[in-house]
Amino acid sequence: MAPVFFFICGIGAIGGAIGVVVLKHPLYSVLSLVFHLLCLAGLFLLLRAEFVAAAQVVVYAGAVMVLYVFVVAYVGGQAEPVGNAGGPGGPAVRALTLGVVTLLLIELLIATLGSGLSAIGEEGAPYTAGFGSPAKLGELFLTDFLLAFEVASFLLLIAAVGAVVLARRRGGVGDPDAEGRISVAQLLSPEGLGTMAESVSGRSGLKDEVR
């Protein structure tokens, strides 16, 4: 039964990965990646990593992919011709890329499968009770890998703050090119003259502009 499940999940994972690269519209790429992640979670289950498989489905295929779908919907993903149509390089660069990737694939396959590790051809170490369970994983995180755990939480905090700072709306709803520029006339004229610009922008003068 295990080989059948392995081949279903493996072919699904590889097919999903090809779909991410080949499909033109970003939304379809995201959906293809969700399929790929679900198949990969099946492979994790076969490797007796139950908690990682559950985290993969909930965190990756759930939360992170929802973030992607929101951004694609917001940005309005434009369909893009696969490969360089009109970009620098064109078909020559694409052929070179595919050649390099094929060479890397062959080299990595030789490096992993021909490495002479005797354990690679076996099923793995004998199964011990609790392998891959949340209890064992949590124990490892809170004893041996406590520093990695704390650093990861700090990294998540920094990433959240960074995303807010990056995607924040700067200034008002105006021409993004003009925003942040101050003309000489604004510096010379006293505040609250009641000019047209002040009434349109809803701001009373120089201090707000500078701020």
Binding site: V20, L43, V52, L166
Partner: protein
């Protein structure tokens, strides 16, 4: 199934992701292909954890997932910022830092 099969799948997914990073021009899809490469590394880590009967590889895989989530949030924030500035969402057009 032998561990070698899982490593083979991992290698193939990694190379597909690398091809996507090099070929595609939409930064959204490039981020997706980076996810593919990180997931391939995760699969290899978990396969080796199974091979040794040691759970350290699974801990490493979860940390990799955390790092991937951080990379996604920052990357998507940058894409939204690019969109707000009315710049083209195309890595070939965004070459102001090109030397």
């Amino acid at each position: 199934m032998a561990i070698g099969w899982y490593l083979g799948v991992s290698v193939i997914i990694f190379c597909i992701g690398l091809a996507g990073v090099l070929i595609r021009r939409n930064p959204l899809v490039i981020l997706l292909c980076l996810e593919l490469m990180l997931n391939a590394a995760n699969l290899a880590l978990i396969a080796f954890a199974r091979m040794h009967g040691n759970m350290d590889g699974q801990v490493f895989a979860i940390v990799v997932m955390v790092v991937a989530a951080c990379e996604v949030t920052v990357g998507l924030g940058m894409i939204v910022a690019i969109y707000r500035r009315r710049l083209p969402i195309d890595v070939d057009e965004l070459k102001a830092l090109n030397g």
